[in-house]
Symmetry: C2
């Protein structure tokens, strides 16, 4: 057989696999286990078919048995998991972007991705000092360049000294470069006034990575029941997705929307009692400042939460990635560890993991992927297993670690880069605070909208009323009403928000999450466009 002929055979047979996808989206057959949400995912994978005839012909020759791995026998936990922030709405938004590029006429000129806390994507500028240190570690020849300030060079030299062979291209220890772990520990210690041992600090490729590593430890069934994890509702969907993936039980507690999304202990008690029916509740997740809700917990609220966790023997998991993002002048950030330690024994002995990221705050370096976990009071036998479990992945990206070094070891007042660093940091945080107020105020001026103030974080999660006719129309399309609304908004305005059902909400209420990240002019346009859309929507469905 000649080479050419073989290649031809390949080309002839190769696109068949794709065509099976078309069955899913054109409704010929939808796998029983395929969640509705994933259909859109399939759509994006499918190549356009030239004609339905071709499509039907190829179907006839293809039996289900041909594939080893199918929608029916794939890991069911992954079938079940959903991650709304990157779900069907975003997939459609990306398609619309391509349609715009192809010149398809739309009532708008660009898609505004308010779905994800992605600051640089929305025009936020990187922190100069952070990028300088990164560039110096990537190309150490720049250490001779007089245009780079000495403090950036000193940081880079110290980090390279901690890299094997003096290169960011060598693996670090799995828990991260020791020097950077020490800087993180020093940062936490100064933040809290409480000792922090660098050996409790594990660097990771983003906070999500750290959170998953810790939740994985609980993946053991005890007396046939899975571990239960208490998470706020609304929650950040990393939690629901990870619990589904690991087969852990999600035990939701509602935040109190009527009281600025505060956390009520009585609701924790209710949720725990409910969770005990089907699981062994072992973990309590607190997101502070809140995502998607933007609430900032008071110190006394955190004390109550700690007492509750102690009483019920819950491992505390504190998602504190928005600790720099506090906009409400009455509020401040209280680390769960600090509060727990200051409460003294027995609370100071409780097990806790807290998480931080380079993706949020004032730096917004999402794409670089960096984070840390601080693991407090963990059984050393478990800590050894945690360290072992991350070792097969070798190490988190060293450049993410470098960025985390800058975040935890920023320029000091006597250093040359201090002034610019502080100006950039403050300007970003100041602007985020202004935009958070702008978003909340504008949303509250729309008929039927009610938004709590964004005390912190990067999102607003307004509640809005939907007319009965819209709810009926959504049902007719097999969509939940908030998802129906979000799709309509996207198609009409190019604004991509995430429907509340992706985060969880009380039954019968409708929300979406929008970021406050588009730059000032764009966010004004976006809000006006949203307002107009909503008024039009109400007319259409009233």
């Amino acid at each position: 057989m000649s080479h050419v002929r073989l290649t031809n055979v390949v080309i002839a047979s190769w696109p068949r696999g794709w065509e099976r996808g078309a069955r899913l989206c054109s409704g010929v057959r939808v796998g029983a286990d395929l969640a509705r949400g994933t259909e859109a995912g399939v759509v994006s994978l499918v190549k356009p078919l030239s004609s339905l005839t071709t499509f039907r012909r190829s179907m006839a020759s293809l039996s289900e048995q041909e594939k080893i791995l199918t929608g029916e026998n794939v890991y069911s936990n992954l079938q079940r998991m959903e991650y709304a922030v990157r779900g069907p709405l975003l997939i459609r938004a990306l398609e619309i972007e391509k349609e715009l590029q192809r010149g398809v006429k739309k009532p708008f000129t660009e898609v505004i991705k308010a779905n994800v806390g992605d600051a640089h994507a929305m025009g936020q500028k990187p922190i100069t000092f952070l990028r300088q240190v990164l560039a110096l570690t990537v190309t150490p020849e720049l250490l001779d360049d007089p245009r780079y300030p000495e403090d950036a060079k000193n940081r880079a030299r110290a980090i390279l000294g901690g890299c094997k062979g003096g290169s960011v291209g060598s693996y670090s220890e799995s828990a991260g470069i020791e020097l950077i772990r020490k800087h993180v520990a020093q940062y936490i210690q100064e933040r809290d006034g409480i000792p922090c041992d660098y050996q409790n600090v594990i660097l990771s490729g983003g906070a999500s990575d750290g959170i998953k590593s810790v939740l994985k430890l609980f993946n053991e069934k005890i007396n046939g029941k899975p571990s239960g994890v208490l998470i706020p509702i609304p929650q950040y969907p990393l939690y629901s997705a990870t619990l589904a993936e690991f087969g852990l039980a999600q035990v939701g507690y509602y935040l109190n929307e009527e009281n600025k999304w505060s956390l009520d202990i009585s609701e924790l008690e209710r949720a725990l009692a409910e969770g005990k029916k089907t699981s062994n509740p072992r973990v309590l997740v607190v997101i502070n400042p809140g995502n998607p809700t933007g609430q900032v917990l008071t110190r006394s609220n955190i004390e109550d939460i700690i007492r509750f966790a102690h009483k019920h023997r819950l491992f505390l998991l504190a998602d504190e990635v928005y600790q720099d993002n506090i906009y409400d002048k009455e509020s401040s950030f209280h680390a769960v560890k600090k509060v727990m330690m200051e409460m003294g024994a027995p609370y100071s002995k409780m097990e806790l993991a807290s998480f931080m990221s380079i993706s949020k705050g004032y730096m917004g370096e999402c794409g670089i992927r960096g984070g840390y976990s601080e693991i407090v009071n963990m059984d050393p036998a478990v800590m050894a297993i945690l360290l072992k479990s991350i070792s097969a992945m070798l190490c988190p990206t060293v450049l993410g670690q470098v960025a985390m070094d800058v975040v935890t070891n920023p320029p000091k007042p006597n250093e040359p880069s201090y002034k610019q660093f502080i100006e950039e940091k403050n300007a970003t945080l100041q602007s985020l605070a202004e935009r958070s107020r702008l978003v909340v105020d504008t949303l509250n001026s729309i008929p039927g909208f009610k938004a709590n103030p964004a005390m912190g974080a990067m999102y607003v999660f307004p509640q809005f009323e939907l007319p009965a006719k819209a709810i009926e129309a959504a049902k007719a399309e097999g969509k939940s009403p908030d998802v129906f609304y979000a799709f309509k908004l996207l198609e009409a305005t190019g604004i991509c928000v995430i429907a509340g059902s992706g985060f969880g909400q009380k039954p019968g209420t409708y929300h979406f999450r929008t970021t406050i990240l588009p730059q000032k002019d764009k966010i004004k346009t976006m809000l006006n466009s949203l307002k107009e859309f909503h008024i039009q929507f109400l007319k259409e469905y009233s």
Copy 2:
């Protein structure tokens, strides 16, 4: 209560958790489920205790029940998993490094980490062009710098054009930046002469990440039995670790050491029959070039493997991260995909995932973390689930993607950086080839050592004989003989290799894996030192 007093309370109670670790390493109590290997891990976590009295006093006040998460109830799959490349030997090597730093006298002055394929750590220089493109994407102001070549600038401009907001600090799509996926597809297509659709390419934070994502899909028990995954023995321990973590069944097939570690189909048949007793074998892993064995599969061998996989309905998983590392002049790299496609139907319709990394080859950018998976003929419903499953982790590091872009879209002959790029690439590969021969020849000159030629990859996996007395001494210490040997070697010479039992070996045979990565002078010193050690060892235990 005053703040100061509370802080004191904390300090008094805080180190207790650590002291429990001391129980584990001082032998007071070792958790039944704690694998022996992890003890050393615990040692490294423990702070030195001021006195045993303090230690015993604190023990009395601490009951097992205090911890929520313990060595007994932690996820048992993680308890079981081992990753020898970063196990107790490396932990001890890192301790020895610290002892040397503290001035502890040793018969050597430095630890040589021949345990891991970490080229830059061993003095290999980064590829200039790759680092230039990285620096330009990190600090786009450098795009105006005349010292950077135009082709590097063009790459950087194109990549930044594919980043949202023009910043590597924004999230990419979960499967990676479209432009870079297209470059990867183009690279594969040119390599194989077979079409490659960029939508089949998923970028990842290193190949390990991609491999785990695909293996996870098989994590469904069918008729109560786990999926079986055929892996070579010896194997790269990512596989044994991942299978243990996911609860998949490891079905080992032995490579034929007598015939240059070749892969015999009769052995595959034997292993499969064995595997069927306890699992549903669904996946066949091929590592080519081999890790730790360095074998390069012939084309006809690959054809046989493909026929075997087709006959038994096995999903092919091709770990091809060493595709650039071929040293044997008689051998060349044949991608499983290319062979499968050229064989025509029905083989060309088989499901396959193949993996590549920026950590190996001539670039050795381990710390940056970049890799890709090419997913061929996957059921679109499964592909949608795979994409969904990686979305909760948001995206692989964008800078790892940038490095992968350079690897798959290197300077072209007419571009200004071409000459230097090719010189650097060839010099590195040439030097690796020389060192591979040096290592093999020297090992074969040691009494009782037998090493196959390293046809490719970055390792040699010699077999060596151990005297009966050494085997007894190992048993007395509760170590397997090869681990005993590797520890002795480490303590005597500072050379850190990984014992063969971490990779798997035929019972009664002893091996270790060493990299060929130390630079030429250092590798000579290392080999001499190893030879002297072995002769001394034989004397001591004869």
